[in-house]
Assembly symmetry: C2
Homo-oligomer: 515 residues x 2
Amino acid sequence: MTAITMVSDLALDPRTGEVVAAMPVSTPQHLAETVAAAVLATTAVGSVSPAARAGWLEGLANAVAGAVDTLVPTADRETGLGTARLTAEVARCANQLRFYAAVCREGSWLGATIDHATSDTPDLRRVAVPLGPVAVFGASNFPFGFGTLGNDTGSALAAGCPVIVKGHPAHPLTHAALADLAASTLAELGAPAGTFGAVTGLDNGRALVLDDAISAVAFTGSQAAGLSLWSLAQSRPRVIPVFAEMGTVNPVVVTPAAVAQPDALATLAKGSVQSFTLGMGQFCTKPGLLLVPAGAGVAPAVAAELEAASPRGPLLTAGMARSYAEGVRTLQLSGATLVGAVAEPGAGWGVCATVLTAPAARLVPGSPLLAECFGPAILVVEYADDAELTAILDRLQGALVGCVMTAGADDPDAPAVVTSLARFVGRVAVDAWPTGVATTWAQQHGGPWPSTTVPAATSVGAAALARFTRPVAFQNTPPTALPPALADANPWRLPRRVDGRFVPVPGRPGKKRAP
Amino acid sequence: MTAITMVSDLALDPRTGEVVAAMPVSTPQHLAETVAAAVLATTAVGSVSPAARAGWLEGLANAVAGAVDTLVPTADRETGLGTARLTAEVARCANQLRFYAAVCREGSWLGATIDHATSDTPDLRRVAVPLGPVAVFGASNFPFGFGTLGNDTGSALAAGCPVIVKGHPAHPLTHAALADLAASTLAELGAPAGTFGAVTGLDNGRALVLDDAISAVAFTGSQAAGLSLWSLAQSRPRVIPVFAEMGTVNPVVVTPAAVAQPDALATLAKGSVQSFTLGMGQFCTKPGLLLVPAGAGVAPAVAAELEAASPRGPLLTAGMARSYAEGVRTLQLSGATLVGAVAEPGAGWGVCATVLTAPAARLVPGSPLLAECFGPAILVVEYADDAELTAILDRLQGALVGCVMTAGADDPDAPAVVTSLARFVGRVAVDAWPTGVATTWAQQHGGPWPSTTVPAATSVGAAALARFTRPVAFQNTPPTALPPALADANPWRLPRRVDGRFVPVPGRPGKKRAP
């Protein structure tokens, strides 16, 4: 953290380093007005029906999708992520917003529960209530999917919380475009002023986290920045939750049977290179550690594939390019050996994608070999047998995702590896690379500490809404004073638990489906 | 926190201050063995079926209920809480254990969710997995309900976590009796060794929180002790959640219409005295602040009722009795005036129950008038009008529970007060005093910071289990490697969400009930 106040976020072209635009950061007055507007909107945003908020989210989805032709060139110019990837990401962003709208409308996330009075117990009714204004710190690496209108913003709005986004300095023009789009769309749809706000500037971000009006923080990004915000929030008189999902070393285990398959080396090499160099390795789910049977020759095959494919592109910022180069050097100083690399970094903030290897014995707690190197690098480590593999897995830190590549459903090693991975990751993927996180009901993106500050939470999937609520029980409360979610008439048509029994809603999916 | 190692927990008679027994605190070796046994039991406890764990909990319930004749005299001797109250609390403890057994068996808490693959998304299946060994710090004031085998232990075992209880020094004999009962009962039922463990000693408690093998902490007690454990857990390399539910000033609002009812003063006086002196005020849900319409004469009526009823009894420890006396003095030094008190404190660690009053203007943030005074004291504050009431409520800290006394279902002020209270409490009770927390599906015991370190969590009710789990998603995972909760055949007969739709289980309550 620096005490220097930035006066502008510079939009820079990662392919050249040139200044595209200088965007002045928010003034203290803008920050204060934005927070005040969110506070004023809190009751209205939290008390309209889920269906009304779902309508706002669908409006945002349509607006984002409709603006693809201007959003993509803007984002490409300041991120260098490429038109194809960014076009797909805009669609993903719109689909996510629609998904959170559907989850919001379905209403299970409210956890509405009614226990009628018995001879021993009073009438008790419980429902999730929104926490209030949420500060969202979007990711550098996904300007749309995890950015200004990404998963955190979508799920917080769905849960009934006003959102203030602190724009990421790696793409200030995209942030401004999305923020303008959101504000005008929500205004057109009749959402209260203050439902969505946006600020920029590092100091304003810190001020948001410390502002008593803010009730929760959502963050996607590096461990250093995430833990810094987390510490800041712990220093408040009223401590608030910080949901930080951070980059980790996501391990991929290859079983002995998998490398014995026909074409195994080529398949593994191709798949791993595609995954760890996707978006130039700028994914929090990037496979950072490939654990392979000893003597199978995986590392040279991956290196050869990398050199043949030679993926090139700039990282998002000069700082990230520098950190990546330092990270690769640190891996080497910690016992890793270079096996292969792309020869030329490409223009601007381009870096050389790299394959390294290290002996299993060097993977000891505290070693940089077990820390994330953000960018297109992978460490390949051979294990001699089951015992060594288990010993390595037991030493790994909590991670977002872990994978196992098998010889198919009957691979005898798959169950044990899945079980081992599940102990320290949020998502286990079988015969799939870790990059790519679907937004569905069953998704879980958060993993054990230190990958996530609240390991039971997820920023992706239907459960993302729960982060921004807390339950309140109403005891012996007359109909006039009950919130709609708990009223006997069930005006919001919510699935509810009544006297311990789940009660689906007529005409809703819960009832349609036979067991 | 002290650096002095206690060699014994002294069981003391609160009615006389005499030593009943000296119980040596756990040795470092016992602590190490207890943690090691919990670690060894983790996989087995977490992977048996919910029905199997429910059987253990029912066995514990039967054992506790069956031992009432020895448990009550033991607890009464060292707590002075009285035979009637303690007998009821043993029954409550057994009923809670049966409730957590039923919730465990029903299985909704696992949140089993299956999304089959689509053209865009992979097969994803999500289920809650137990965190691992949980350290439980039971309450001083509820040796059974929130003690060694109380809500925290019951819900953590139900969720599949081994439990290590740190016995409270206010009732070491009761702790030892319950710990022995639990160990022998669980062994008879075939639960793994290490499913339940017990340690004593302040230093051992701190060591537990810092032990890398411990995955979560549950605490019921004072804010000072709870926040101290919370800070300790934040200092670990792997930070773990601390679910501390702590004493707060629980406000009770009396509406103008309520005091205008026939016999209102007598009813309010009787109800408030019963509630704030119940268990000599040693409840985390004790009403600490009574907000009444100006000029209605509530404070003198409460004082008269208190002096007439003259409830007497010792507090649990000499330290609590001293803190209570200091607390009442602090309230007076902060602007409160004594209105009435029980004249004689009674024997041993008896204290004088007290009614105080203070002008609304003195209830300013940071004032001791807004801090808990543990024990039988209540502060009565008059409000002039709606605006002043709202201003007072806006200044209150997060609390476990808030109440409103009304003139019935049509009281025009009830909805607004309920809404105001719901902003900063975990439970709102109408025409009911705050003491008494039913263990049901809809209960919520945790409230906003600083009453609870994780305000979205509850230590009482069906949702208590969720604290000790985190979700894991399994992507594209073959049947051989899936946990039973996510297998297509649904061997545990769980209610699940499949492709976004809730699927109840044949023969289970979810299906029986028509909407």
